[in-house]
Symmetry: C2
Subunit: 213 residues, 2 copies
């Protein structure tokens, strides 16, 4: 197989947009979700994110990354002001609308209206959910961490609400995202459906993992 | 569609392993990679990770999460001691060996030996790569962040070396991971191949995204 190698000096010499495309590709397939927020004045906002990372199960915590100089600043401002937001998984049926939420709309335009996704409001949740999403998560802000190295911010939050299709929940607590229609993404702009290879049993030193039926 | 809803009190009342399985499922599909390290005494180590998150392209930075009380502590110790490690994408051909690296092997056993993955050493890199991997990344430790909320740690690192199959690099810098055979995972134990839906053009307020041929 013919291979290409790059070292630091090669990567740092890339043209800026080429390097962004290249480096964003290297992390593997990523989670894809729409984060819904609402400003104190009531304006809803929706933005695509691909940096959801599991932090812990007890309490149920996750994190995600925001670049404060980017289009995502409305999301950041609303989360810091209201301390509540939603995470909505993306299905193939609305992946183009999802991508379109990354356009730079002004603060007074809701990405729900601009992309024709449907705002869904649940009692007790100030932030809007995406009606078309099959896996919906409500989250409460817990902590903001400045990563400092390049000005990015990590938001840590607790999962306080989950709504999933009943037939995706397995007896052991596993939620079958493929059955829910959740898709994945790669790089800055590549969208992919998935096909399960297998689930494997818990790994132990003295035996090989088996497929879970 | 029949749906299930859970609120905080329901989630916190779940049995511990059930909750871990459930919460780990909710983040969507995840990156899947093997992190290779070597101790100061020369012992190689390999561990599966699914929390790679992009931090920035200039300089090329990423992060990942380590739970210090878990099997991943050898990885953490080696990274802090040597400040260098590798990230190797996983292909379907060795997903079972990848899963098996999460078993609790003692410190004096290399997961390369235990799982029959092949250690590959490159000039100038103290940490071992995985020969079977098609996408190989060399990384230098930059910062350790204690997330404090639950004792987890975030490692921030800079990409200092990349090796990819030549035919996966597109003219715009995009690396086609699906072509490279990189797979994805969900929850704690579910492995998936991907099938591209499309790449979409950069989102702009005044037009709809188009498919990139």
């Amino acid at each position: 197989m013919s291979r290409i190698e790059y070292r630091s000096k090669d990567i740092l010499a890339f043209e800026q947009r080429y390097r962004a495309m290249f480096i964003n590709s290297l992390g593997g397939f990523k989670s894809l979700s729409l984060i819904g927020t609402r400003s104190r004045s009531g304006q809803s906002n929706l933005a695509v994110f691909n940096s959801f990372v599991h932090i812990g199960a007890n309490p149920p915590l996750f994190g995600f990354i925001i670049r404060p100089d980017s289009v995502e600043r409305h999301t950041l401002n609303n989360i810091l002001a209201t301390r509540i937001f939603t995470v909505n998984h993306v299905r193939e049926e609305f992946y183009q609308a999802t991508h379109q939420t990354s356009a730079r709309y002004p603060e007074n335009i809701s990405e729900f209206d601009a992309t024709h996704l449907t705002e869904e409001n649940l009692p007790g949740y100030y932030a809007p959910f995406v009606a078309e999403s099959h896996v919906k998560i409500g989250a409460s802000f817990r902590k903001k961490i400045d990563l400092e190295l390049n000005g990015t911010i990590m938001i840590l939050a607790e999962i306080t609400y989950v709504s999933i299709p009943a037939d995706t929940l397995m007896p052991d607590g596993f939620v079958d995202l493929e059955k829910a229609g959740t898709i994945t993404c790669a790089g800055l702009d590549s969208y992919h459906r998935t096909e399960r290879i297998a689930r494997l049993t818990y790994a132990r030193q003295d035996s090989l993992p088996k497929e879970i039926e």
